[in-house]
Symmetry: C2
Subunit: 322 residues, 2 copies
């Protein structure tokens, strides 16, 4: 994956410069907060995905760079709101904006980033770009709301979990890849393939994230282990465990989970049971399956370094340790 980052280093530097340019405001506090956001890491997975998909279809243009920057702005806006919702202290290994400036600023800077991104998208005067972006943003918020409506609902189904994941994470990645096709006026078939590619990469990404919440070493993840469990968020590994253990054990598990004051001992117990039932392996396998579906779409494109990079990225998304 290091070689991939290297190949796109210059393109990504252009994106970084564009993000900086896009976010400049006449309100000093906005600049202070966006500076913090810009310098506190972030993998830039979505911009990279747009760059790669664009290169699959043709050359890079200034429009690609603009779009990559505004997609990252939209993504960051959702993170700022997520952090308030989850009461997260840490983001990308650094202090979350809400830990430094408070929830209020985290909400408002999220709104600012989103409105700026909309303005930039509008300035491109491309109807299809605007339609697909607006749809992705709506779906993302619907996914977050659906997830919250299943808070501590131990009866939630795997089908519902995949619906949430598709909406909250899949939709923006699907749109990201589709935009490459839109900018290059590709056939409908190619646009659909790109959308499918992004959607399944997104689903794989989210399952991997949800699994890492149970397995990652704390300092690598940049957030607290078992956080989803503590927040009452039921993700794939837990769903698997709940549907495979016996009734009496399920009841005991639910009681521990319902307790709210969740001890390290509880976490160790649940992790042990997950190992036993193969819940972690199950989730990892599911993530790989979706990465494979994504990679299959690449067959529609000629072989190129960019096609190979996308394939590597699909593997990286599921095999990463943070």
């Amino acid at each position: 994956m290091e070689d991939v980052w290297q190949l796109y280093r210059e393109d990504l530097a252009q994106v970084e410069a564009q993000i900086k340019k896009t976010l400049t405001s006449e309100v000093p506090l906005v600049n202070e907060v966006t500076h913090h956001l810009l310098t506190s890491g972030g993998k830039r997975i979505r911009p990279l995905l747009l760059l790669m998909s664009t290169r699959l279809c043709g050359p890079l243009t200034s429009e690609t760079i603009l779009l990559a920057a505004l997609i990252e702005a939209v993504h960051t806006a959702t993170l700022l709101h997520d952090d308030v919702i989850d009461e997260a202290e840490i983001r990308r290994g650094e202090k979350a904006v809400r830990s430094v400036w408070g929830n209020q600023i985290s909400i408002l800077i999220g709104d600012y980033l989103y409105s700026k991104a909309v303005g930039q998208a509008v300035s491109m005067k491309n109807q299809e770009v605007n339609e697909t972006l607006a749809e992705a943003c709506r779906k993302m918020s619907e996914g977050e709301i659906l997830q919250l409506s299943h808070h501590e609902n131990w009866q939630v189904t795997e089908e519902e979990y995949f619906k949430i994941v598709g909406l909250k994470t899949g939709s923006l990645m699907a749109t990201t890849c589709r935009l490459a096709g839109i900018l290059h006026h590709t056939s409908q078939e190619i646009k659909e393939a790109l959308t499918f590619l992004g959607l399944h990469l997104g689903i794989a990404f989210q399952i991997a994230d949800d699994t890492l919440d149970y397995t990652a070493r704390q300092n690598r993840l940049g957030k607290t282990k078992g956080q989803d469990l503590k927040d009452g968020r039921i993700t794939l590994p837990l769903l698997h465990l709940l549907s495979h253990c016996k009734d009496n054990e399920r009841k005991e598990l639910e009681q521990r989970l319902q307790g709210h004051c969740f001890s390290d001992e509880d976490l160790t117990y649940i992790l042990g049971r997950m190992q036993e039932f193969g819940s972690i392996v199950y989730a990892q396998t599911k993530a790989r399956t979706h990465a494979s579906i994504a990679k299959k779409q690449l067959a529609l494109f000629q072989d190129s370094p960019h096609r190979r990079c996308l394939s590597i990225m699909a593997d990286f998304i599921v095999d990463r340790d943070h």
Copy 2:
């Protein structure tokens, strides 16, 4: 003003139906919350303003109704976020969404409403409409951030106050009126006049709101009296008082304000001093001045019931008691 509401009753009913149609989602919780929002009042000042401005320029179309609905959605989105920021329990005399479903849902439904509004605006395929709306949304969030950056800053100037008010309230009303001109392809001069009209109506509206925070009877306002003061928000009446009392009294006032645990006695004291220095009258006069500036723009339009209604509305905005 009752006659005005009566004249636009049918148009407003169309807007109401459009809002309901726009906000329907496949996520049940979204529909539950938007139903609460739709049935818990709201003056629909912005939709009415768009209807009136449109009628000044020509007939009403389905595009006007769509725009009126989406402007109300954008406005409601900002209220949902404001309520989280201000920890408000009551909105429009009813329980705030955050009081019923919590802060998380209030944030996410705000995001949903905003993304839905953007999607609807994009579907109109009108570049100018989308540009002016995106600009208004950006300015609104900048205004809110600027206001927050002056939290408990007793040195803030009147100039800065007017900048905040223009951004956070003026910009959406300015855009609302401008959109009428855009839809009817009026001259640049008329568009500018409409923008100016909306901007100053918005400023008048906000000053009146800020003054009502000190003067309104609690049950009429649907929120707690003196709330701005308790929240450390410095508005025009207080700015006037602080800049007109003597140094030692200013110091005493600042100490009371800084105290956070603000008693009814403190509020009574401050209200008394405001009466003495004419701070309330000063703010009311300022609101009237901006309403007059707004009304002056009407001279560019032929006399009509709609022109008279806008003039009545400008007076209503500053003279209302809630």
